[in-house]
């Protein structure tokens, strides 16, 4: 699991990125396409912990963005809420740059057998 918080990590690259006023939704899309499996989470949320455990249990290595540790996390949260059409912003899962959804969609796709092919396609899972 890779934890990313834009304020930490690569300072020079991030300062260049931060100076540009990026629309939060655009940022979400950019971050989501950066890795095979991307999870937007809150460090205090237990459901986020559950979804993380789910992917780790399958042998997937997701990239996690803890929004409460991000200075502009609030904006992203609001954007995600709008994207999901209400309800809780986190956890949200993107696979291969495409939105899968919140926990219930992830569970449903896992049960009906569509999650694993999606992961394989994105290169997050090898047999």
């Amino acid at each position: 699991m890779h934890y990313h918080a834009e304020s930490y990590g690569n300072y020079y690259a991030s300062t260049v990125r931060q100076s540009a006023a990026v629309d939060p939704l655009e940022r979400v899309v950019r971050l989501a396409s950066g890795s095979a499996v991307v999870i937007f989470s809150l460090s205090t949320c237990c459901m986020c912990h559950a979804v993380k455990r789910l992917f780790c249990g399958m042998g997937v290595n997701p990239t996690v963005y803890e929004l409460d540790l991000d200075p502009r996390g609030k904006e992203i949260e609001r954007a995600l809420t709008r994207l999901l059409g209400g309800g809780s912003a986190v956890p949200v899962v993107f696979i291969g740059g495409k939105l899968v959804g919140a926990m219930d969609r992830v569970m449903a796709s896992h049960i009906n057998g569509t999650l694993v092919p999606l992961l394989k396609e994105a290169g997050a899972l090898w047999l």
Binding site: M47, A50, R53, G57, M107, H110, I111, N112, G113
Partner: protein, 487 residues
Amino acid sequence: MASHRGGQHVLSDSGPSRHHHISYAVPHTLHLPSNTSFINQEGSAFDFEIEELEEAIALQRVKINNNDEAKQTLYTARPRAATIEMFPSWPLKFHHTPRESLKSGEDSVCSESALNTLASRGDTCTATGHRLQPLLPPETQPQMEMVSSSDKPTTGVTESQLDAKPNPPKRRGAGSSSDKVLDAKTLRRLAQNREAAKKSRLRKKAYVHQLESSRIRLAQLEQDLQRARSQGFIIGGGAAGGNISSGAALFDMEYARWLDDEHRHMSELRTALQAHLSDSDLQIIVDKYIAHYDELFCLKEVAAVSDVIHLITGMWTTPAERCFLWMGGFRPSDLIKMLIAQLDTLTEHQAVGIYSLQQSSQQGEEALSQGLEQLQQSLISTIANGSVNDSMHQMAVALGKLTSLEGFVRQADNLRQQTLHQLRRILTVRQATRCFLVISEYYGRLRALSSLWASRPRENFIADDNSCQTSTVLQTLLSSRNQFSNF
């Protein structure tokens, strides 16, 4: 009423034992509440009246035979010349008075008050009884006996007009056979009549007693319900008394209704399989079953919002189900494991699908369980670390964490629902019908196990009754096990 009672007491003091029946039974019927049916009151009064009178007739016939008089029927108009001549006025007197009292009885019958009727009945009884009592012992008054026996047909006729009992025709039959010798058969029949009447009296008494006690109990229950409602508690089914939230009580009631539907669906599935319906028909039934479960998940979602603790503790399920409770319901992987054993005739593709379903449901369960564990740890630390200054804030945080339980129960139910839908997708219609029947029967047995558990004998030396009940229930369960082996 009092004077009538007085009459009864006179009767009981002076009469032989059988007349105690009269004094016993009539006050008994008088004690019935006025809303008891009119016919019943009459019936019991007639029970002993008819029986006593029939007995009296038989005994008189015996006496007549013993006296070696000329054979007389009850209805013969031929007078016994010598006696009638001796007491010319007697027949007239005895004929009129009973008829008068009977007529008054008849009038009262037409009146609306049941008690009046009873009083008149009692009077009739008293009248005839009174006449019977001094007549029978002395053997020297056969003509009086004859006369009194002659008013019995009138009594019988009057009674037959008002009562639907078949006794009057029987009595007439007896009257017509008084020509023949009174044999043992008749005596036996009379004795049997007596016994039957006695038994029916006792049965009726027991029934009325039971009705009365049930009525009292119902009144008390209604009072309790009223009181509880006024205090703002809605009493749901299965609540162990005390405080139960309205959301939980509502869910309990809805769940009880769902269980009734479940039984109906189960029998539908069973008959559908046995009837060998077409695939399209089975499809309809299977889809209805899935919709039935979807309905349960909807109910649980509503209940989770109002009272998630009630769902998680499983107070809405039976004890045996509660043992296996996982996040407010059944564990999907356990269900799949059970089904794998029961479902044969799977294609390879289907087998792969079922096993991957088992694996994915297990992974989902594991993830949710770990999430819940983290929630519990976080809640414990919040409550434990609450400082004096910050206690309200900490409580608010803890409350927020407790509320997020709702999300976990909802996700668990979602997992269950998806598992059932996936099962339907993997299996053929016929297999799905069998599969859902297996599921339904499985939970039915689990619930039956719960009731056995609840009624199990607690002490070894007590409750032979309990263990007998348990063993009979076990026997019925074992005998119904054959259905399972049809798969």
